[in-house]
Symmetry: C2
Subunit: 226 residues, 2 copies
């Protein structure tokens, strides 16, 4: 398997390239519109064919590159059944997506947003904004729900093997990867906390709204093509 | 082996944590002074003991965390024979450093600076500012020499197996890792270029001096303790 983590410094967003070495088929997860040229150049240099563009959820902080990427490559865009209607393919919990010989297992992890999905590929899980390193995605907009997020993290993600590598949708402190075992033990918002305690933490964050919320959410609902 | 890539967004610097799963002994490569607390917390959470702090070279853009780390942990600081005199241990080309059961092989890769070292651990090479992803470190200060850097990259790094993973000291475009095969083929400054062509590119960059040059170089020569 080919696996690449890519970063957008402007919004601290991680994009992931996953590809099958044999068939050279690839998927991009959570591409950022400003980096479409970078990502396409990398795909080309690695001799890959982009088959799918996956979203973990409708983002509020950046605009997806999905629309541009499907226009330029013919790749199919993929989102949650509760996510962007513009997507070519809609996934739900338990679905399997085949990228050549790779199998991507869909785990519904709502709570940051109601459409949030995590993607398990081998021993790596791409957790979007549900589980972040030592943290968790905010729950104060787009139908966020802290009790639901707590359940997603503790019953769906923390039940994966401890050595599963956690690749989040963002990091703001310079971390690139963690593991399920580590987050079970050290996640500052979840570890050793009840659902009520987690909700109290999340409801008390008092964060300013994401800078690009009013623009990004509608743009992402139309795959970044609006 | 435990391997973690850490990022400093201010200077786009990568720090690496490498550790032996069995003995739990660890080394940090190119730590940034502002992130000493983050790095020590991670080392603690992973149940590791910091044995060494390695520098790839005397940095001009950030101040090393080496001094603080050795004060707080008793770890030994390690640098090139041509690097910071303050280090506890000085390495040269071909030296092997043992971190528990891990072996770090030292490859001298001068040219960005005259003290630049790369570190090979298993199938990963930490290239400092010699080989960057699709790029190479600037050569216009601190005894930089483009012809020397070209030789370091082409005769010392590009002779490693193609699937060796390349982990650089910086990236400014959101890349986290590459491979020797990829850089041999696609490096914009080196691939298909002669030494003279590479020197012409490097000498024509006309970059402004690093923002923190006047402070960082003397600070790093005293392990960040001045």
């Amino acid at each position: 398997m080919i696996f690449r983590q890519l970063f957008d410094a402007e919004t601290s967003t991680y994009t992931y390239l996953i590809a099958d070495r044999e068939t050279r088929l690839a998927a991009l997860v959570d591409p950022v519109r400003e980096h479409v040229a970078r990502d396409l150049a990398l795909i080309d240099e690695l001799g890959l064919t982009l088959a799918y563009v996956l979203e973990t959820h409708v983002h509020a902080d950046h605009i997806t590159g999905a629309g541009l990427l499907r226009q330029r490559t013919g790749a199919r865009s993929v989102a949650s059944k509760r996510g962007a209607a513009c997507a070519d393919l809609h996934l739900d919990d338990g679905d399997l997506l085949h990228v050549g010989n790779l199998v991507v297992r869909v785990i519904a992890t709502p709570g940051h947003t109601d459409d949030s999905l995590s993607y398990l590929v081998g021993d790596r899980v791409l957790t979007g904004d549900a589980l972040l390193i030592r943290s968790a995605g905010r729950t104060d907009f787009q139908n966020g729900d802290p009790a639901q997020l707590y359940a997603s993290i503790t019953t769906r993600l923390f039940t994966l093997p401890d050595d599963t590598q956690v690749y989040p949708g963002h990091d703001y402190r310079g971390f690139t990867v963690s593991s399920i075992g580590e987050e079970r033990r050290w996640n500052a918002r979840v570890a050793g906390k009840s659902s009520a305690e987690f909700s109290a933490i999340m409801n008390g964050l008092a964060l300013p709204p994401p800078r690009h919320l009013a623009v990004a959410v509608p743009a992402n609902r139309s795959c970044g093509e609006a």
